[in-house]
């Protein structure tokens, strides 16, 4: 029999209702898996054993009473540690929040709890979600379940690794420039960034407010849909939350791609992409064409400038968002003989080098005399990116690109060279600038046995067609591989 930790959410949900599995049993299987893999992976920063047990027991009680809150009832889900959880340590992988116990739950956390999910714990990330490898965590890196010498991607690397390894059946990550999709790609799982505003950011520790969006990581497109449906929807506590109806994605999910126009972005599927990744990508596009999709070659010239614009806008916003971490009201405090010196010492000690770099970059970009040349110019590029996508969606229903220019790279390989590290997100960043949805899913392995990811992009609120195409890619690709570390033999 399959280890319950390897079940999909849909599979586990069926087993729970069939009576062949209990929520407590499922949680136990996931914890056994975590006990086996955590020493190698370090996917979690905090495991909430007591909270998870209570939630699993509550789910089993509900099942016994015949109450059904839907497909997440009793399902173990992990949370990236930048979403606040009442009474459970939340650090955003930063020393500056060491020991911080939030007094409230993020909206997404409340929604998961209301759906009966069992929250396993808080997963590792690049400090404040700034990075592409999870090596910027103040509490040590997470490793890739496919090869522990390699990174899981980032910043939601812990979430992606946990889902791949089976120490959670699904997870929530956050995506500011690709932080869900890129690690999903490197870990061989599905990762989705919703349209900006569809999922509440209330309780998400902000990196760059105009770009941040919470989304699901799961093993299948169907499972990603389940999580997406649980967390999407208007929240009066987030002023940027979308007030309209959440796109209904289910009716067309299995409609296939026959007759759909699938655009290939020329600028993101050539130079700078690893040849093996490119080959895998092209093969997947061929399969879509074979299934009746019309493949359109499109040029979006602004893509070449998106990375630069992102690295001005995101740091500018983060320089203000992270100003509140000053040691005055919460978190560790270093003493100083004036308030200013106390704050400076606390911040110097509390932030890691990448966070400090981005705060400095953003502070500079917003400074008097530089604002127009940097922040102002970046906003103009952002407008061009939005325009380019708008034109592209006149010619195509969805766009596809490789998710990441390479498969998982080695720990330490890019840490000394921030610019190369920044290029890891070259394919994912433009979508965040536009506020559009995107999903990455595995399409095969490279010669070294590492997963290759493809992303499907759609216009704002185009989740239905995005999931539909992703589902087709998944069905046509037949990606069944599991990482070595997710089995007891591999971990032994």
């Amino acid at each position: 029999m399959t280890d319950p930790a390897d079940l999909t959410i849909a599979g586990a949900a069926a087993a729970l209702r069939a009576g062949s599995l209990t929520a407590a049993g499922l949680l136990e299987a996931v914890r056994r898996r975590a006990a086996m893999t955590e020493a190698h992976l370090h996917a979690y920063l905090t495991l909430d054993a007591a909270g998870a047990e209570r939630a699993a027991a509550a789910a089993d009680d509900a099942f016994r009473r015949g109450e059904d809150l839907g497909p997440l009832q009793g399902i173990p889900i992990a949370l990236k540690d930048n979403m606040v959880t009442r009474g459970v340590e939340t650090t955003a992988a930063s020393r500056i929040l060491a020991g911080y116990l939030p007094p409230y739950d993020a909206t997404v956390v409340a929604r998961l709890r209301a759906a009966g999910a069992v929250i396993t714990g808080k997963t590792n990330l690049d400090e404040f979600a700034m990075g592409s490898s999870t090596e910027n965590s103040a509490y040590g890196p997470t490793r890739n379940p496919w090869d522990p010498e390699r990174v899981p991607g980032g910043s939601s690397g812990g979430a992606a690794a946990a889902v791949a390894a089976g120490s959670a059946l699904g997870a929530l990550g956050s995506d500011t420039g690709g932080s869900i999709r890129q690690p999903a790609s490197l870990c061989g799982v599905v990762g989705m960034k919703p349209t900006y505003g569809l999922v509440s950011r209330f309780g998400l520790i902000a990196f760059a407010s105009s770009l941040d969006q919470i989304g699901p990581l799961a093993r299948t497109v169907d499972d990603a849909v389940v999580l997406f449906e649980a967390i999407a929807g208007h929240d009066p506590r987030d002023a940027t939350s979308y007030r309209g109806a959440v796109p209904d994605v289910r009716p067309s999910l299995d409609d296939g791609v026959d007759g759909l126009r699938v655009g290939v972005i020329r600028e993101l599927s050539g130079d700078g992409i690893d040849p093996e990744v490119l080959a895998g990508f092209r093969a997947a596009v061929e399969r879509l064409a074979g299934a009746g999709a019309e493949v359109v070659d499109l040029s979006l010239p602004s893509m070449d400038h998106a990375l630069s614009a992102y690295y001005l806008i995101a740091p500018a916003e983060c320089s203000a968002n992270l100003a509140r971490f000053d040691g005055v009201r919460y978190g560790p405090r270093l003493e100083g003989d004036t308030v200013e010196r106390m704050m400076a010492a606390t911040r110097r000690d509390g932030f890691g080098p990448e966070v400090a770099r981005r705060i400095l970059l953003g502070t500079y970009a917003l400074s008097a005399g530089y604002y127009d040349a940097f922040y102002g110019q970046a906003q103009k590029v952002r407008t061009l990116v939005i325009e380019d996508f708008r034109r592209a969606y006149e010619q195509a229903d969805v766009l596809v690109t490789p998710t990441s220019p390479t498969t998982a790279f080695h720990l330490g390989e890019r840490t000394g060279d921030p610019l190369t590290m920044y290029l890891s997100d070259i394919c994912t960043i433009p979508t965040n600038l536009a506020g559009d949805p995107g999903i990455s899913l595995p399409i095969g392995l490279d010669g070294g046995g590492l997963p290759i990811g493809l992303q499907v992009l759609a216009p704002a609120l185009g989740e239905a067609v995005m999931f539909r195409v992703a589902r087709a890619v998944e069905a046509l690709g037949g990606f069944e591989a599991r990482p070595a570390l997710a089995t007891s033999e591999g971990a032994a």
Partner: protein
């Protein structure tokens, strides 16, 4: 040399909304420290702001009252600076797209109307409050600081004037007029001493007649209209002395020291701040469409200037009209008096004189008393009909205010009705004459001032209920 002052005033108005600017915490002054707080106004990780629609509406109303242009689309910005009582270390404020721009306010200075331009009216959030512990209570000598975030996030409206104000008196007139508009709109309790209304002034001097602007000094910490006027007078004098000595005026922030009646330099650091404003990404633009704007315009009550003009139309002189318009509830009472057939001028004199004095003593507001316009109209009718003397009328007012009942009832209960029986009056006069024959003789011989003596005797004998004018007439008749 002769100089002229160039003054611009920045006014901060704390709005009396039920909840804070960006969260649901109550706006409640005087609560225990750090009890009206939540993740948003404490700047906890992950918390987000949601704008208070009423605060936006009230700001638009003030903008309309000041004849401003209302922006159809306005933005919040982040103003970045580190300070212990600023929980996010940025303040959500407005920058280049404020809600209201380009208005004006007419103020009267020395009987002349003077127009002050309004650059802008915008909306922002207040900071928390620091209390510095230690010897002096001043920040540099403090041993520790206590932080209270109850004030953090209270909606704050900022009104920026053009540098059109020419002197301390005009500055005070501007501040008074703006305060009266804020009170008329009912958007703030506008108490300077409690900080819900704060004035900062930018002052510079230039040679009289010149159009070159001098170096400007920002003057802060003025907790009353009087201290605003005095601080500016001091500062103008100080700058003139500096200039006369051939020195340049330093650009700085100075604080008014109420005790010593001087302005003193504040921290010079504030001047070099770069606030790195950028659009607040947690909020969407504020849209004020025409329909909303016009609904708000329709909701604006009669403003003080219009009210004063109307009161003068009712026969009040300019000063009385000003006093009535400035005091809460008096104008409405006056309207009721006129509606009840009373006389506006007589009622205004009672309201601004006796009634105001009595209320000041009791500490009550006019709305807390049973006094109505009908009372004032009836009182006037009784005085005109010689049923009450002017003195007795005041006593009746006191009784009505004290809740003793209606005008006639109080007059009867306190036995204040005048003796209208002519025979009784004549008898009282004759009795007085009979009792003081010497004085009467002197009066007959031409010592006119003794008329008053006899009136006094009669008033005494009648317990003040005689009409003194009629008594005087009767005394003169007897004296022939």
């Amino acid at each position: 040399m002769t100089y002229e002052a160039v003054i611009g005033i920045e006014t901060h108005v704390e709005l009396a909304t039920a909840s804070k600017m960006f969260c649901g915490c109550p706006v409640d002054f005087g609560a225990e420290p750090n009890t009206n707080v939540c993740p948003t106004c404490l700047g906890l990780p992950g918390a987000l702001p949601v704008p208070n629609e009423r605060a936006v509406a009230w700001t638009v109303m003030l903008g309309l009252a000041l004849d401003c242009e209302i922006a159809a689309r306005s933005l919040f910005h982040r103003k970045n600076y580190f300070y212990a009582d600023l929980p996010k270390n940025y303040q959500i404020s407005q920058y280049d797209l404020p809600l209201c721009t380009g208005g004006h306010l007419d103020v009267e200075v020395g009987g002349e109307t003077h127009r002050v331009g309004i650059t802008r009216v915008h909306l922002e959030e207040d900071t928390g409050k620091s209390t510095h512990l230690g010897d002096t209570g001043r920040i540099h000598a403090a041993e520790a600081a206590l932080l209270d975030f109850n004030r953090s996030g209270i909606p704050l409206m900022e009104v920026v004037s053009e540098p059109d104000i020419t002197g301390p008196e005009a500055a005070r007139a501007y501040a008074e007029e703006l305060r009266s508009i804020v009170l008329a709109l009912g958007v703030s309790d506008a108490k300077l001493e409690e900080g819900s209304l704060r004035f900062d002034a930018n002052v510079s001097l230039r040679p009289a007649g010149s159009d070159v602007l001098g170096v400007k000094v920002e003057v802060k910490n003025m907790n009353s209209l009087r201290s605003l006027q005095r601080a500016l007078a001091f500062e103008i004098e100080r700058q003139a002395e500096v200039l006369d000595s051939g020195e340049p005026v330093a650009q700085e922030t100075r604080h008014w020291d109420e005790e010593r009646q001087v302005t003193e330099p504040g921290r010079s650091k504030e001047e070099s701040s770069d606030y790195r404003y950028f659009p607040e990404p947690d909020l969407v633009p504020i849209e004020v469409d025409e329909a909303w704007r016009e609904r708000l315009r329709a909701g604006i009550p009669e403003l003080p200037a219009a009210l004063r003009a109307r009161l003068q139309g009712l026969g009040l002189d300019a000063d009385t009209a000003r006093v009535v318009a400035a005091a809460e509830g008096l104008a409405g009472l006056l309207d009721d008096t006129v509606a009840a057939g009373g006389d506006a001028r007589v009622a205004a004199n009672w309201l601004t004189g006796e009634v105001t004095a009595l209320l000041r003593r009791s500490g009550a507001g006019i709305a807390d008393t049973p006094l109505t316009g009908a009372h004032l109209a009836e009182l006037h009718a009784m005085v005109a009909g010689r049923e009450l003397s002017a003195t007795a009328a005041k006593e009746v007012l006191a009784g009505v205010l004290a809740g003793e009942g209606g005008v006639r009832r109080v007059a009867e209960a306190r036995d204040l009705l005048q003796i209208s029986d002519e025979d009784a009056l004549v008898a009282a006069v004759d009795a007085a004459i009979a009792g003081h024959p010497d004085e009467f003789t002197r009066l007959r011989e031409g010592e006119q001032r003794l008329t008053g003596f006899f009136v006094g005797r009669v008033m005494q004998a009648t317990g003040g209920k005689a009409d003194p004018r009629r008594v005087a007439e009767l005394v003169r008749e007897r004296a022939g």
